[in-house]
């Protein structure tokens, strides 16, 4: 048993941190925040592509580095720390994973090399309004190879080239690959709680769509894609939560109230200790998820659910209590606390809110205990 990253993986992580410190300081994140029309940081996206990160887990035969998911997890943690304003998750954790999981050889050949080269941005379009879509609520429809419907919201929908869309065909839910640059696709940018990440409303009218995986497998595949993405997102969450704890600790070591460092008050000490506890729980659950993901273990659904639940909880707590530790100044636009507060919710919603994951975890546990 070896429950840690290898030296090479740690080295990669260190490199990634240095790279992002140089290329993605929060001043760059704020450029996207402050410009309502700006969906992402194009320069950073190109620079990240130059590092080969998009292809870290894509096999060499499809143009990737073929490193594996542990390496991708290490990168994800650093991207989370940096609150990177780029469509990495949509492209790599969602689109690439979907294609690797369920794509035909031809689909893999068509899409994965472009992802690895940083040539395309991806998206996963499932939501159609309030609440997670279900077999009975799903409206988007494919008929005669053409997709019609509305997806709302779609993360990175404004900028994505290729999307995997959940839709029904002959009454059965399936996943479909759609070229978003073709005719019949209308995009509308949305205002969100986290303007450093893009979201859009996509309207499809008779847009060519090619099925990914089997007919009627839509929800089943979606769940498997979400499991994989949830592990990677849990690393982003851990990275963000760690950064919040560091900010709070630094501030507690410089701010005086009543003639003492605020870090000398137990109310603050206990708050930071609680952050640490939650962050470590999240990290360990994420590690277990990483192992399950990397080895394609049957434990993945349980491990991914646990990683997601712990990741959401840790990031939310760290983000809000970091503001609280800062007092009035934490509630300002100029101080970075809110970048993390916003991102904690964005990551907490993007593959579905924790509520559904708790349900999923329990149903998996029930099944395991019955077996």
């Amino acid at each position: 048993m070896n429950f840690d990253f290898s030296d090479d993986q740690k080295h990669l992580k260190g490199e990634a941190r240095r790279f992002l410190e140089a290329n993605c300081p929060t001043t760059k994140v704020r450029v996207v925040l402050n410009d309502a029309a700006k969906a992402y940081d194009e320069d950073l996206w190109k620079a990240v592509a130059g590092q080969g990160w998009m292809g870290a887990a894509i096999p060499e035969e499809f143009g990737g580095l073929g490193l594996g998911h542990l390496e991708l997890c290490a990168i994800a943690e650093e991207l989370g720390r940096a609150v990177a304003p780029i469509p990495f998750g949509s492209t790599v954790y969602l689109l690439a994973e979907a294609i690797m999981l369920a794509g035909s050889q031809m689909q893999k050949q068509a899409i994965l090399p472009k992802i690895a080269a940083g040539e395309i941005i991806g998206a996963l379009a499932t939501s159609e309004g309030p609440g997670a879509p279900t077999a009975s609520s799903l409206q988007a429809t494919v008929s005669g190879g053409k997709l019609t419907g509305v997806k709302l919201p779609v993360t990175d929908g404004d900028i994505a080239d290729t999307a995997v869309v959940l839709a029904k065909e002959n009454g059965q839910a399936g996943l479909y690959i759609v070229d978003l640059n073709g005719a019949g696709v209308a995009r509308e940018m949305l205002k969100t709680l986290d303007p450093t990440r893009d979201a859009a409303k996509l309207t499809f009218k008779d847009v060519p769509a090619e099925r990914l995986g089997g007919a009627g497998e839509g929800f089943d595949l979606l769940q498997q894609i979400h499991d994989r993405a949830a592990v990677l997102i849990a690393f982003e969450q851990t990275g963000g939560a760690d950064r919040c704890l560091e900010m709070a600790r630094d501030y507690a070591l410089e701010r005086y109230a009543f003639g003492r460092l605020i870090g000398s008050y137990q109310a603050i000490k206990h708050k930071l200790a609680d952050m640490y506890v939650k962050n470590e729980l999240a990290r360990s659950n994420a590690y277990y998820g990483a192992w399950a993901l990397n080895t394609n273990a049957p434990e993945l659904p349980i491990a991914a659910s646990a990683a997601r639940i712990a990741g959401c909880d840790a990031y939310w707590y760290a983000a809000k209590e970091n503001i609280q530790t800062h007092g009035g100044i934490g509630f300002t636009w100029e101080v970075d606390c809110h970048l993390f507060y916003r991102r904690s919710r964005q990551l907490g919603l993007v593959v579905g809110a924790p509520r559904a994951w708790k349900e999923r975890l329990l149903s998996q546990l029930e099944r395991r205990n019955a077996a």
């Binding site: 609440g131 993360t155 709680l193 005086y256 109230a257 007092g327 101080v335 907490g348 924790p354």
Partner: protein
Amino acid sequence: MDFSDTSEEAEYRETARAWLEANAPKEGLKPDRTGGADLDHHRAYQAKKAAAGYAQISWPKEWGGPGGTQIQQVIFSQEEARYNINSAYFSIGLGMCLPTVIACADEATKKRFVGPGLRGDEIWCQLFSEPSGGSDVAAARTRAIRDGDGWVVNGQKIWTSGAHYSDFGILLVRTNTEVPKHKGMTMFWVDMKSPGIEVRPIHQMSGQKGFNEVFFTDVRIPDSQRLGAVDDGWKVSLVTLMNERLSIGAGTAADSGAFIQLAREATIDGESALRDATLREKIADWYVQTEGLKHTRMRTITALSKGQTPGPENSIAKIISAKQAQDVGAEAVDMLDQFGIIRDPDISPLGGLFQDQWMAGPGSRIAGGTDEILRNIIAERVLGLPGDIRVDKDVAFKDMPTGR
């Protein structure tokens, strides 16, 4: 104990209800905090209330108030709550600043300010917090130096809500640095248009501009604007802070009605979210908290209306209400799943009420006493537990350990 109206109370309620029906703006009033055109709507309604004796109902006649009872105030507020009216423009002045002025000023000053304050003609702000301390207000460094029959003030205040549209403020300054910090401060009222005052709005994380930095450069304040004795400003500030906690605790508890409405519309696994067992449990908990606070406040008001000093029970209010607002916002956003990330009044349910609440939540847990300070107050002043070791009590202000 009796939770129903007496016959006089019922009559008062009837009259208030009829008055509101005729006069309350049907579309509600929600301050945008810019102090621009929307302030005129708030002023118009406030002036009507004042003319009808419904502004600060329990303020005594000798202050220039309507001279009603605390219970009447409660009744009116309950009835007014149906109209979705938020009077935040006036609440700092009426809830904190003017009671402080009234407690300390001479007759002429009271006469001068009470009427315009009640009518909403003049707006007040509270100039206490500084970069050097918000929890520790007594760390204030803004300096007033005696000069003939007045004072010259230099320094900076921060987080001053509404300073950008305020006419007057109450200002806590340092007048003596040779004594321990609580013993060297003095309170004044100040005209915000005085030469040397510069107000710079601060961008809040929510995107709004509700609070400000206020800079004082050689601002002259006549000694006649002093509230309380020289170097006795700390005691005066306690009057304000007590009123602050009473008034802040009152308004902000979550409205489970709106949440239920949202839950009814949203779906979880194809069913109304209102049928979801975990959500039902949470709504029940929030409801009980909100009711508990409401009735706690009634206990306080009952004590006040009998001329008794209220017990410490009202100090629980903001600890509950601020965190609850944040929790409810988060839960409401999550309930919508991916759709919750959208923050657009035209798309988000209920005009984005809960997204806004989620963004404002962190501020409520800090403004008017942080969660941590309020707990310290309960532990030390209510329960009598020993205080933290203080290093700032007996040293001269100038020798106190500080950060930057």
